[in-house]
Amino acid sequence: MYGKKVKLRFLFLALILASVILTVFLILQSLKDNIVYFKSPSEIKSLIELGKKKIRVGGMVKEQSIFINANEINFIITDFKNEINVVYSGVIPNLFAEGKGVVAEGFLKDKNYFSATKILAKHDENYMPPEVKEAIGDK
């Protein structure tokens, strides 16, 4: 028979293993609930069903599309193939402008209408998020 010490050690090992598995499970589970997918306007057009989850949309702000009033700002994100209307009320980053790259986070109302909760700021006007670069191709 195994001694008491060995048994105790087994118990300890099992405990560690169980807690590690639990931790990983917990982390992966919350990850699933909290990831935000990035889509280009064209990808949104080809969506089969609109999820209710938060997504990010990126591309260029279309020229002459910004319209602003006291409560909200409207603009169009384009990837030069398709475009999507965005409505947003919140902080607008300084580097946000027509003809510049943009990433907006929020919810899809339908395939043409996006309600943004956040516009991501950039630190460098030369910097283009890799996703946006890909979304608008080599333009």
Partner: protein, 627 residues
């Protein structure tokens, strides 16, 4: 011109010295002398001098605005104030790597000088391992990111420094953070040396603890400075965004904190030897990863700057070499010491420290997965995702409850075998904390049960540490101060989160915006001119519920080189709350986008982080050890 040449050739000489140092120290290693050859000290000092000369000549090029230097051309401009010309030296990729190198050589020299009481072979091996890292960085600087590239014809003026980097906090943030990052390299090298010499012992623990503390203090303050900067400069009014770039600085901090705790066990009981070594390796690897992730542009972060992927590959390869080397050394040389009891009694100081380490590892894995998973998924499936703050909050905040509880009880336990003393007073303290919290939370709109429990344990830790602060014979003051700081940090963050409020609106000049019983009045704007920017200063008057008027003057700056618009928030800080107003320009110029926030206890977050580092400092200068 001349400075350029001097800087470049000193770098090459520094690299040559690395090889000479390696050769000399290998020769000295086999020498039967008891003491390290004087030549090694001289060579190491010489290497340090060359790197200092190189760094100074880069600073000189920046001060003189010598645009025949490509780095200066890319990151400076004649109209910039002198202070930012100097800080521009490390505000860019090439210069910051040179700074890494400077700190690497400085620390190994200090190590040699400060470790005279340690065994000779161990010291030489540490030097050798450190030289491997130094050679790697020399090559990295010289091959992929030479700060002394020559431009011809010399351009008339530079491109300027990114304006958001033109800020006092960010001027000192990188050097301080690097001191922390690079300090972990000494821990890495010396733990590898100690493993090969089978010297992972109480004496080694006592000696290396100083380096752990130094790196930890610098890393803590470095992270705080970055956080303060993000708070007032980015205009989001938060201090931590769970952004990948922030996460990579938090990860080494977590392992370093774990290391700091378990090195105490090593120092006392000569136990946990393998764990200490693994943590040392992990900490440095994470610091390197941080540099890699930030510099390679692999991360899509709001903090990312334009950069070059080739550099990332170099760091990545170097990183893999270091990891394989260190793991190889660990598995080949590490012998488990069987003389010491490895099993701990369940109720003892060492068990409580182990629990701390478990929590740290858990927090680390959460942050690591949240940061790396998007990269992983992008590589595997080209699916682009990001992981938001709710992920971290959900996984970290609930676990703070047991963590804080153990933190209040752990330090009260004795080594080896202990009992919980003063049960009654502990229970009373706990009841007081719960009641206090209950009455505070009841008046707020927050999740009653969850926050009551969470804030209760935070208060519990606060009260127990306060009590210990006033015990005369407290011989573990540094720990008490640090834990007190931590409880204060958690409390201020929680209350800050629960009580913050904000108003975002678009407003024209002369308009009033009313909400509840308060009123925001946009009085007027004024234009100002500085050498490197023009600014629009807005005058706001904010009337709060009690009819008191606060004047805030946020600013929009239009920098001329490069042309970038930034917002400068205006913040009125009091001990109780920060009032934060930031304004952005919207196309057309008629409307201004403003964000007004009331952030309670903001200043206490910084104060408590300072307390944490003061605890570290006290421990560093503490001479006697408790018996």
């Amino acid at each position: 011109m001349l400075a350029n040449q001097i800087g470049y050739y000193s770098l090459i000489l520094g690299l040559l010295l690395s090889f000479i140092l390696c050769a000399v120290s290998i020769k000295d290693f086999n020498n039967s002398n008891k003491r390290i050859s004087q030549n090694i000290f001289i060579l190491s000092f010489l290497q340090l001098t060359f790197v200092v000369v190189s760094f100074l000549s880069l600073i000189l090029s920046f001060i003189k605005s010598d645009f025949s230097n490509e780095t200066v051309f890319n990151n400076s401009h004649t109209t910039k104030p002198l202070f930012y010309k100097i800080s521009g030296t490390w505000g860019n990729h090439e210069g910051s790597l040179l700074l890494w190198l400077l700190v690497l050589t400085l620390f190994i020299y200090l190590f040699l000088v400060k470790s005279k009481s340690q065994p000779k072979k161990y010291r030489i091996l540490t030097l050798l391992f450190q030289q491997i890292i130094i050679i790697g960085f020399f090559l990295f600087v010289l091959v992929t990111s030479n700060p002394f590239n020559y431009l011809f014809p010399t351009p008339p003026d530079g491109l300027g420094l990114n304006p958001i980097l033109q800020d006092p906090a960010l001027a000192i943030h990188p050097p301080i953070l690097y001191l922390g990052y690079v300090g972990t390299s000494i821990i890495f090298s010396s733990s590898l040396a100690a493993v090969t010499q089978n010297y992972v012992s109480k004496e080694w623990g006592r000696h290396i603890k100083k380096w752990v503390l130094v790196s930890w203090i610098f890393l803590t303050i470095g992270i705080m400075l970055g956080s303060i900067w993000a708070y007032y400069e980015l205009g989001w009014g938060g201090f931590w965004f769970w952004d990948p770039v922030e996460n990579v600085s938090l990860m080494p901090w977590l392992t370093l904190t774990a290391l700091l705790h378990c090195i105490i066990v090593l120092e006392r009981r000569a136990a946990l030897t393998s764990w200490v070594v693994i943590l040392s390796i992990t900490t440095f690897t994470l610091s390197m990863c941080g540099t890699f992730l930030v510099r390679s542009g692999i991360l899509n972060s709001v903090h990312t700057f334009a950069n070059d992927p080739a550099r990332g590959i170099f760091i990545l390869i170097f990183l893999f070499i270091l990891i394989i080397l260190s793991l190889g050394i660990f598995f080949v040389f590490h012998k488990k010491n069987n003389n010491n009891p490895n099993s701990f009694f369940w109720l003892s100081r060492e068990t409580s420290i182990l629990i701390n380490n478990w929590f740290m590892m858990y927090f680390l894995s959460v942050v690591l997965i949240g940061t790396v998973y998007p990269i992983f998924l992008d590589v595997v499936s080209a699916e682009k995702i990001s992981v938001g703050p709710p992920f971290y909050h959900k996984l970290i905040v609930p676990f703070l409850i047991p963590f804080l509880l153990f933190m209040s009880l752990g330090p009260r336990l004795k080594w080896i075998k202990s009992e919980i003393e003063n049960k009654n007073s502990l229970i009373i303290t706990f009841i007081i904390s719960v009641t206090l919290t209950f009455f505070i939370i009841k008046n707020l709109t927050a999740d009653l049960l969850f926050y009551t429990v969470l804030i209760s344990v935070a208060f519990f830790l606060l009260f127990t540490t306060i009590k210990e602060l006033f015990i005369k014979k407290n011989n573990n003051m540094p720990q008490t101060v640090a834990h007190f700081g931590f409880s204060l940090l958690i409390l201020s963050i929680l209350f800050n989160n629960i009580l913050s409020s904000e108003i975002i609106t678009n407003i024209k000049i002369g308009e009033k915006y009313s909400y509840q019983k308060s009123e925001i009045f946009f009085k007027k704007i004024e234009e100002k001119k500085e050498s490197n920017f023009n600014s629009i200063v807005a005058y706001f008057e904010i009337k709060n519920e009690k009819g008191k008027i606060i004047k805030l003057k946020p600013e929009i700056r239009i920098y001329n080189q490069p042309i970038i618009i930034t917002s400068e928030a205006d913040i009125k800080t009091t001990l109780l709350e920060d009032r934060f107003l930031v304004m952005n320009l919207v196309k057309g110029g008629e409307y201004y986008n403003i964000r007004y926030q009331i952030k309670p206890f903001m200043i206490w977050i910084w104060i408590s982080v300072l307390l944490l580092s003061i605890g570290g400092l006290m421990s560093l200068f503490k001479k006697r050890y408790e018996k």
